[in-house]
Symmetry: C2
Subunit: 293 residues, 2 copies
């Protein structure tokens, strides 16, 4: 089968063998935002030469601004509930393909506030057989990080932190960016940011240290981005129990900083690369009965 | 004398009588950022017809990117220490004027982190005679809000929260702005934001509620900005003691929201409009011995 991760700003396609292992991969910058009316036309050439009829898709492709809106499935939910919410579609440009979109998840917290994900649920589905029964905690790093509580193969609840987006808008559009200069990731400055976040201070106040550390020469201009990154990730992780085992799903650039941040809190980390999303689409296709073997 | 508040993005001039009362005011959009090499040329026409020779200035005009860099005075500091740090200058375009720039303040917290202000110290100086001896707490609302602890006429310490700037960058440049529509200040949504901020949640996570409240129709698109405003101001104020008397200095548009936010925490509020800055420059000029009467 073919597994598609179609997010806001990028499209990734994975060709899987009969056991669900990735045997080929392609990538495009044609994200689901801005693809209105062109979804099939964008997808067709991405699949060229891959003969598998079954194509399962996850991510913003299933949102209101996507190809077809697929209703959120409410937590708690496991493979069966998510698979039951999958929606099939067809397109003249893709004759002979069997197209499916996976639903996102919603949850309502004890405080009545909703949360949502689209795409990350598929990564969790790819982890479930590795986790087994019992309680587990996963952290999916990214623009909008997701903390996910899993119990006996089902997603109980989750929470979104806007860490990556805050880092971007503050670096690019706020006063904090003025003193920053480009540079490699700075381990010491990142750790200083993490440690500063551990205190009781509120983020609205602590952010100003990025400026004064620059003004007073506490950090070099090239180190300020790493300090900001540590401060934001430190705040995000305040909400997780210390010393827990955390299953970390991250792109290569975020894997090491998040591992450092989690371990500095006394936690243990098990790393999973982003191909767990393709594994999840395979597991969902099987649960839905779309795979013959 | 003439009192000048010359910030990053605007210039305000006040003509004061012999007792320090404002008798005329002018305003320009020529902020200190971008005025390099033109400070005297911008100021000269602003003073046309105002014959008082003494001109005292505060704000970013005294920063490294300003007209003349004036070194920060370290806290604790009162009128005398700040007045002693004032720097005189002259300019051929302003013959017959006696020009002075007030220093900003710096402070180093127990955690070793620095904080700074430029311009707000002058507002505090304008409050001091109203406050009298003892301990007092002031909140100066704005792009970068300042919480100031005053004791026996001296500024002991202060802390900056980036509330206003966070509101701006998140509304204009993040995903949260996508669902927002223009509308008047919404008291209920603002209060919901305040109440949500009271909990234990971290801001990196709570921000996402701005999006889901829009997605799930909990709030109308026109109310989302007020909810975000309440959430950010609520986080800022977490750091102040509850039930305190707070001296609030704010522009008209921020006065009512901050009053509501402080009173909702059980606090009492005394309001001061932004002309306290002009009063402060008068008090500093007197402390420096620049006024004859």
């Amino acid at each position: 089968m073919i597994a598609i991760d179609w997010g806001s700003s990028s499209l990734r396609a994975f060709r899987l063998d009969a056991r669900g292992e990735v045997i080929d991969a392609r990538r495009s910058g044609e994200g689901a935002l801005g693809a209105a009316g062109r979804f099939a036309a964008i997808l067709a050439p991405m699949l060229d030469g891959w003969d598998e009829p079954l194509v399962a898709m996850a991510g913003m492709v299933g949102s209101r601004q996507g190809w077809r809106e697929v209703a959120y499935v409410e937590c708690p939910a496991g493979l069966d509930e998510i698979a039951a919410g999958m929606v099939g579609l067809s397109a003249p440009e893709l004759v002979g393909r069997e197209l499916w979109i996976v639903p996102g998840l919603s949850v309502r917290g004890d405080d009545g506030v909703h949360d949502v994900m689209r795409g990350e649920e598929t990564q969790i589905c790819g982890l479930l057989d590795r986790l087994g029964p019992g309680r587990h905690l996963a952290c999916l790093a990214g623009t909008h990080c997701k903390h996910v509580w899993i119990e006996d193969g089902r997603i109980r609840r989750f929470a979104t932190s806007m860490t990556g987006e805050l880092f971007h808008v503050l670096s690019e559009h706020s006063l904090l960016g003025r003193l920053m200069e480009a540079g490699p990731h700075d381990d010491d400055a990142f750790a200083q940011g993490l440690d500063y976040a551990v205190g009781e201070g509120d983020l609205t106040r602590q952010l100003f240290a990025v400026r004064t550390h620059g003004l007073f020469g506490v950090l070099a201009p090239q180190a300020l981005r790493s300090f900001l990154s540590g401060l934001l990730i430190g705040h995000e992780l305040r909400q997780l129990p210390e010393r827990a085992l955390v299953h970390l799903v991250a792109a290569p650039a975020l894997m090491q900083p998040y591992r450092v941040a989690l371990e500095r809190r006394g936690g243990r980390v098990r790393e999973h690369d982003e191909t767990v999303g393709a594994r999840g689409l395979y597991a969902l296709a099987r649960a839905r009965g779309l795979l013959r073997n």
